[in-house]
Symmetry: C2
Subunit: 362 residues, 2 copies
């Protein structure tokens, strides 16, 4: 999407034809800084230290990490080591494993001398496929926004989102944001309520930034505020992303998603979840079987931001000895989900709904 | 309650017999600092700049502000001016108006020479009455915790609370915390989930501090996390405070309360609201008629805390140009409230339930 007036992806091959550029997302929203990756180790670090985050972008970065490794040494041992190193960065990210498997499948059968070229070709396909998947999510989600616009002619459609399921989490378009960007470009007036998304503040730092750069009207709110806005008719629909979806349509997403789904249901506000089908775990029947990552309490007790002099500073907001619990995700049961927006269409949040779109998993 | 091992109220007359001590709550949790008020203007500033906050404590501080004014000039004009000045500090706080009216009623008929003494006597009564009201809320709320303890012998009762309805918001005991302190002192094992309470972080800075000082086990969580904990059976009951309650049992409380009430209902967790009956607005039938204060967006875009060197620093966590909306309260409909814990007992959240306890309003 647009940054400082220029079309931008989150990852791209440099003009030199081989090194890989990414946006250092740990610097956002205060600085837009492009980092160039030239070695496997730099790619692994970018994933591990969360310079890049979001399942699809992690996958694409890992794919290019394999390319960089092949430039250094295209032997079988080096390929295996590169994949192991990349897999160790974020062991629970599903797309990371998928992307590595894709690269391995593409490279093992190729003569060693052709591996560098084959690696860049497959990595580019993975990145382009992600863009196309997200674009299709946008195409299928757009009518939901068009319908809301038709109900309220003359005013913007108010869409609430949680966390960052934006283009920064993918290669381009985003998942939850794809229908929003598409509506904006189609001239449908939209306005996005951006949940701050404590404790890591991805809404305040990433979603607010990317919508602002692209020119999409939006307003930041506390995570606490969404229910109140829905009670007052100020939310027309919710669209969020997901980290893992069961075969029955339960959705694991950033902590707090469940509370918004409850409020949406209580107020008759449609609640949609946007996802590439690669996030569906077809083996799982019950969302409560999805393991929930526990993260450091410092994410809650400490906050990093900029002083008015532009300095990056971390401050503690709690008493020193306060114990903290920090669950990263929660599960929204399918009964609270109005629909799943996938690259093949909008499915009912149920096994029947999903299998109708993805009969190969029936 | 206890601070640094000593019993403590939030407001008390100094050993000199006339100046008034308060805790500067803007310094918490990082510093416990007592401020001495010696003039009307200092009292007014303490309320306005939120050195003291919480409806009951604001009322008590205003009462003592009248005392300090009478020491300077006990004439009728000075009395009227003092009341006007104090009322102007937080025009929407209901208890402020009530305390000022009490002081006026107590002083107008008193010979001028006796006004200083009469003022201190009435202010002390107001403060003591608040302590007794909160203690009674504790007495009536305690059986709810005892019942939960009986259901789960051998483990702590997990109680979730939002914002600070603790002793820092009152003269002592607090409202939502009174039953918790009473259970703790009765030897019933309790553990409190403390909502951070964005955007002003009253949970992280005040509730966590006061529970820690008193020795009540507690854990800070993001506002987003409560629903997830309830889904996993980790919350036995919720107790929150209220800023205004309708005659029909609708409750206006800190933004985000409604989301927790929805989650409690969805998971069969009892959801109680603790309140002195002075917060009941007997004229109101519908919670959505309660005006909701809109506060500065900077409360959300900027965070103040301590650096590791102990310095107090404010940082911005959003892009500079991000628009922010900051509603301070939301309304929880009576249908989501299991009961109202008042100084006269636990009422059903309905007109019938409230009138049964307060027949004078029938």
């Amino acid at each position: 999407m647009i940054v400082e007036g220029q079309a931008q992806r989150t990852i791209w091959v440099d003009r030199d034809g081989w090194s890989v550029n990414i946006i250092d997302q740990t610097r956002l929203p205060h600085r837009f800084e492009v980092v160039t990756l030239r070695t496997l180790e730099q790619a692994a670090h970018a994933i591990q230290a969360m310079l890049v985050r979001g399942a699809p972008l992690i996958g694409a970065t890992a794919a290019y990490g394999v390319c960089l490794a092949m430039r250094q040494d295209f032997g079988d041992a080096a390929l295996g080591n590169a994949c192991d190193r990349l897999l160790s960065t974020r062991p629970t990210a599903v797309n990371l494993r998928w992307a590595i498997d894709e690269m391995l499948a593409a490279l093992y059968t190729v003569p060693k001398a052709g591996r560098v070229e084959a690696a860049y070709a497959r990595a580019a396909e993975i990145a382009d496929a992600d863009v196309e998947t997200c674009r299709q999510i946008g195409v299928h989600g757009l009518p939901l926004i068009e319908q809301a616009a038709a109900v309220h002619p003359g005013r913007a459609v108010n869409i609430l989102t949680h966390c960052n399921a934006g283009w920064l989490a993918t290669v381009d378009w985003g998942t939850a944001t794809a229908p929003i960007y598409m509506a904006h470009e189609a001239g449908i007036p939209v306005h996005v309520w951006v949940d701050e998304t404590r404790p890591r503040n991805q809404g305040a730092s990433l979603t607010a930034w990317e919508l602002g750069q692209h020119g999409v009207p939006h307003t930041l709110i506390a995570d606490n505020a969404g229910g109140h806005l829905m009670q007052h008719g100020l939310v027309d629909l919710c669209i969020v992303g997901t980290d893992r979806t069961t075969a029955t349509g339960d959705v694991a997403n950033k902590i707090g998603t469940y509370l918004k789904a409850l409020a949406a249901t209580d107020n008759g506000v449609p609640f949609y979840v946007a996802l590439p089908s690669t996030t569906i775990d077809w083996r799982l029947e019950n969302g409560f079987d999805i393991p929930i990552e526990q993260r450091s309490g410092e994410e809650l007790s400490h906050v990093t931001g900029r002083t008015k002099w532009g300095e990056s500073v971390t401050v503690r907001i709690t008493p020193k000895e306060t114990p903290v619990r920090n669950d990263a995700f929660d599960v929204t049961p399918a009964r609270l989900v109005s629909g799943l927006i996938t690259e093949r269409g909008v499915a009912e949040a149920s096994r029947e709904g999903l299998v109708a779109l993805f009969p190969e998993h029936g």
